[in-house]
């Protein structure tokens, strides 16, 4: 049963010890369907459990109907919609600008990347071009968002694993520094509502760049500390390696994006593929995993944060002075010409896309969001089958979902 785990960066130590994979991991999926009597009740010793929506590990109001054989998962059905609030229909009934604050509430960890995705889509539709400085500000805020999203994700993941408190507190300490930057720039820690069509809402306050530079300079120290704390921890390795393996073919077929896909070894990063904004000017590497297990997904996020720090250093060094809004942009009475457009960015969770059809009126005719965490959830059953209930919790944690985005 022992598998070799060698290629993953920074895990050579663990693989050399030959820590055996948990029993049943990597085994073929259970194809047994629970035996049911004609009236639909379960027979035998299978147990149907409803996990959530108030379960502390489900990251919001998410429910999983799991069928258990002892501790082992035989069937899993994700149930969501508890946080549905009609985002797409509201988007069709408000003005283009009016949807901007609602996009903050999609993935409430990364409001700035949501803003960017929406602004990018509408700019494509209306033919606006943000000035240089606005593009730099967007890259800086988006990469800061990536840092704070990944940092809280690894904190939550370890919390799910039973490392109560400590890693999450360290993660939130760092996240708070970045949220302070957001607050002094946009006025809100989480609901930033900062990007506008053709630029940004306001210029950087005095001293902001220095503060950001300091936060970015100190960030690698935190990553080193975090890795010393955990990356070599034998309990973490035993719990995560070989758990929740997502095969490469399945990941591609299920249109998984973001760190989930890259952990399965597929080199696909929209920052590289589309080079939206000014991402063609920055040198960064795309970390890839080999096994597609929970450990790879954890490690990919740590490595992505290191790359983001590099992008931030370059962007903070090169940011030019100048205007922050395209002079053609209109705040009141904004009516883009009729047309249809799809815009996407690499949000911290994956490909975040907006699809808009305009008929020339002040509000979109059709407004649709392609949420990364919703689509990443679709393979949950495939990667959970055959694992223990306790592993389901960390597999779900490693998918990185936010219910605001899944349910919309």
């Amino acid at each position: 049963m022992t598998q070799a785990y060698v290629e993953t960066p920074r895990s050579e130590g663990a693989s050399a010890q030959g820590i055996p994979a948990p029993e049943g991991a990597g085994a073929p999926n259970y194809t047994v369907t629970p035996k049911r009597a004609p009236d639909g009740t379960l027979q035998g010793d299978l147990l149907e459990v409803s996990m959530g929506p108030q379960h502390p590990s489900t990251h919001g109001v998410f429910r999983m109907d799991v069928v258990l054989d002892g501790e082992r998962v035989m069937k899993l059905k994700p149930v969501f919609g508890y946080l549905h609030r009609n985002h797409e229909k509201i988007g069709e009934n408000t003005t283009y600008l009016g949807s901007m604050p609602y996009t903050d509430r999609l993935d409430y960890f990364c409001s700035l990347t949501n803003n960017w995705a929406y602004a990018l889509t509408v700019e494509k539709l209306a033919g606006l071009q943000p000035p240089e400085r606005a593009e730099y500000i967007r890259v800086i805020t988006a990469e800061l968002t990536r840092l704070q999203n990944h940092v809280s994700l690894v904190g939550f993941l370890l919390q799910d694993m039973g490392a109560m408190g400590t890693p999450l507190m360290y993660a939130f300490r760092e996240r708070e520094r970045i949220l302070d930057l957001f607050e002094s720039l946009t006025g809100a820690r989480m609901m930033c509502n900062y990007m506008r069509f053709g630029g940004c809402r306001c210029d950087l306050p005095p001293g902001w760049l220095e503060q950001a530079q300091q936060a970015v300079n100190e960030f690698p120290r935190f990553l080193d500390e975090f890795e010393a704390l955990l990356s070599g921890n034998e309990i973490l390795l035993a719990r995560t390696q070989g758990v929740g393996v997502l095969p490469r073919e399945l990941a591609v077929n299920a249109s998984i994006t973001g760190p989930m896909l890259r952990a399965s070894g597929v080199n696909y990063d929209i920052r590289k593929v589309d080079q939206y904004g000014i991402y063609d000017r920055f040198k960064f590497r795309v970390p890839l995993g080999d096994h597609g297990d929970v450990y790879d997904r954890y490690m990919i996020r740590i490595l992505e944060m290191r790359e983001s720090v590099g992008i931030l250093q370059a962007a903070l060094r090169d940011i030019p002075a100048g205007p922050i809004v395209d002079p053609k942009a209109k705040l009141r009475g904004f009516r883009p010409k009729p047309g249809e457009v799809y815009g996407r960015i690499e949000s911290p969770k994956g490909e975040l896309g907006f699809y808009i059809i305009s008929n020339g009126s002040p509000n979109p005719y059709r407004y649709r969001v392609r949420p990364p965490s919703f689509i990443n959830l679709t393979i949950l059953e495939d990667i959970c089958l055959g694992h223990h209930v306790a592993d389901v919790v960390i597999i779900l944690g490693s998918v990185d979902i936010v219910m605001g985005e899944v349910d919309r």
Binding site: G13, L97, G98, E176, A188, M191, P205, L229, L230, N233
Partner: protein, 188 residues
């Protein structure tokens, strides 16, 4: 790479925790907690909570900058603003005849603090407050702010957003000077 001792990673992690624990007694950057009700962090200038109406002069009814143009009511995404325009023009703080809102309500239980009303207002009449301790026991009455509760003097605006208020005052007086230099013909 030779196999490390089993459990070495755990001890390494515990050493990191210990460094943070003991470090918190001597180093300020390891102890970052703020004991909230007793200590408070200073607010940034960009901070925002809920909208207020700015008035010039001393009389809150006369001096309101709002001319009830209804733009904010239309643009407000959650539609929490309710305005009824007055039927007669009244002199404002500068003595100019203007329409004024007869009713101006903001339901702050609906407001999502997005600041779009502030951005779209062409008269610099509505601005964001920075008050944040607003919890009440009453679910309806105290969360529906009327015109009188919303009206705040320009001095208050200067106090909460000094840089922004100075810019607004500068461009308002520039507009006024321009209007004086070239008076627009009065509509017949």
């Amino acid at each position: 790479m030779s196999a490390p001792l089993l459990g070495q990673g755990i001890f390494k992690g515990l050493a990191e925790t210990a460094r943070n624990f003991f470090g918190s007694y001597v180093k300020k950057d390891r102890l970052i907690t703020v004991q909230y009700p007793e200590e408070r962090l200073p607010q940034t200038e960009a901070a925002r909570s809920f909208p207020v109406l700015v008035y010039d002069g001393d009389d809150w009814q006369k001096g309101l900058r709002c001319v009830a143009c209804l733009i904010c009511e239309k643009e407000c995404p959650p539609q929490c603003i309710y305005i009824v325009k007055d039927t007669v023009r009244k002199p404002d703080a500068a003595g100019k005849l203007q329409f004024q809102p007869r009713v101006f309500d903001i339901d702050i239980s609906v407001c999502m603090s997005c600041q779009i009303c502030v951005e779209v207002c062409p008269f610099d009449a509505i601005k964001m407050d920075v008050q944040y301790e607003l919890s009440t026991g009453d679910r309806f009455g105290t969360l529906l702010l009327r015109k009188q509760q919303l009206a705040k003097p320009n001095q208050y605006y200067h106090q909460i957003h000094p840089t922004e208020a100075a810019e607004v005052d500068a461009h308002l007086s520039a507009d006024k000077a321009k209007a004086k230099a070239a008076p627009t013909p009065k509509p017949a």
